[in-house]
Subunit: 138 residues, 6 copies
């Protein structure tokens, strides 16, 4: 994505009455990639705090909470993938399956490391999903 595209996209978000959420008219309810993103940010915060700490118990807790948060990332992404996206979306975005497979795999990888670049990759993959998601809402 070029810087220009990014700017347009940010502007678009500002101008439109873009809610933080998306309201789905189908039986499946309300969806928003923000749910996955928030948990992924929590994963990243756990890593940062783990890396900044010398307290063994704190590190255990950071590892444990990161595991749970990464699970929530996977949950929110899986639900989006299966419940929100429809065959016509796949036609328009043929890389949809790959996007979700990679992002959920990255969430799994984030459980096994405190390397913040993994969390950043996860956030970036969720941003890609977010982009596709909002494109289907136009």
């Amino acid at each position: 994505m070029t810087l220009f595209d990014t700017s347009l996209r940010l502007l678009d978000r500002v101008r439109a009455p873009r809610p933080v959420h998306a309201h789905c008219d189908l039986p499946c309810g309300v969806y928003d990639p923000a749910q996955a993103r928030l948990e992924a940010q929590s994963v990243k915060a756990c890593m940062e705090k783990y890396n900044a700490s010398n307290d063994a118990d704190f590190k255990v807790r950071a590892t444990m909470i990161k595991e749970q948060r990464a699970d929530l990332v996977k949950q929110h992404l899986w639900i989006l993938w299966t419940d929100y996206f429809k065959p016509e979306h796949l036609t328009a975005f043929p890389h949809l399956h790959e996007l979700f497979w990679k992002a959920t795999k990255t969430a799994g990888e984030a459980k096994k490391t405190n390397d913040v670049t993994v969390a950043d990759r996860l956030l970036s993959e969720i941003a890609d999903i977010d982009e596709v998601f909002w494109a289907t809402k136009k």
Copy 2:
């Protein structure tokens, strides 16, 4: 809040690198009232679909899912109340406890009815909390 304040606040949201979320620097992690709001919108959607349907089984499912979503609203709000807000916030916003007590009670009330005005009140109370929350972030 005057219309002018609201405009400023909206502008503020736009200009600053305001993420959809909030990053907490304390051990407790990442917070955002958007999590409660999304579930409350789901509660409202369940009510609307319940009211629009004549299918008994669908109504059972809407009732059941609404119950779970309203529980999630309460969870997210309780976590904000206890984990995010600090005594200095209470000094600045003395109605904080009342805000959360009323909003979580309304979430409970939303389980017992399909009256959409209850869901709208819940969303409005979460919007009030959201306002306080973002004010503490400035």
Copy 3:
């Protein structure tokens, strides 16, 4: 299944350290599509019992339990898809993503109906996944 097959199978159960499962050597642990299949059979059983009953409360419970079981089907399938399958498997089975997308969507559809043919389709899609899974184990 012939009587002869059944006999062999029963013998097999008696004599041997008969695994029903698959042991994964990677950090992700132990996988087996049997977990999804068992929950899908429970979904089907809930439908059959719903259809055979005239008791309103029983039907509520069947609907509710079916919802939970269908959720478990999705969970088990999502975990297989993201955690077990690797890029090399996708090369060998290019329809992998479609298989899982369709099966998890069918599990969602099974929540909304008591039409047993939907449960049968779900079981058939899980059988297809099972086949791919065991082929990767050879």
Copy 4:
């Protein structure tokens, strides 16, 4: 509370057909601060066992289980606060919100330490809530 008050209260508990629990006549069901207290005692036990042990794995488990138990303390207290207590109770006990805010914050604090005085403070705050609770039952 004076010793005399305590004695009266204990006597009161003995004489009356005081059940271990409280039966709520409203749709919300059955409440009893004993649920929070039991989990808080578990939190304290985890700390004591952590402190008495030299086994690294045991300490990990104690930390992990304490985290879950402290979460349950918060759950039970939040439910009491939002679901059981009514505006008229707040009039009679104006410190109600503070009581619950402090106790749930202490439960959060107990996750971060193995200092038994924190668990004792938590138990004492739950005892204060218990007192208010039973006063509303008279």
Copy 5:
């Protein structure tokens, strides 16, 4: 149990520093049959409210919540049975397995009915377990 025994037992409960809970000195933590009893009382309350109501949605919710509460009864009882009780207890109370098997089966039965006598039987079976439990604490 004779009335005299009952009286002694009640007296015993009063005099001794009998806590609402039991503190286990083994790694397994804190146990108390009160946890199961409270949930069983909730099961009974759900039945009573179901029977007193003419509101179809309320009845769905009562059925659903009763199911969850009965599950919690089973959980608490299973944990007592497996985690708290030891072989020496079984020697002293040879009917221990039967007690728990019957009580957990009754909890399952309580899911399927709104007949309050089933809930009363459940409460009575939990009272029997409670008696054995406290006898092992002396």
Copy 6:
């Protein structure tokens, strides 16, 4: 298991509507000791990976995941014991209660150790339960 057995087994999988499960005709649904066995194999795998690793964080995760998996073993076994087995089964298999008590206790023991022989004992006890289970299905 001989190669011949393996071949038969593979053939069986390919040809037949091979069930891995058991279909219960009562309201309680679908049961299969395979569910407990799969989680017990996961417990064993966690131990093996713990023992083979020198990475402190990995060991924390293995301990944590083993705890959850051992809990699932207990859940699946408790459900079988209470929900599937009936008084007539107990008549035919008088050691039924002991089987389940020991197996669930072993699952608890497996949380506290990384001694693989404990996991092997757990698997063996589940195999005994499996044998009884399938005998009741004939």
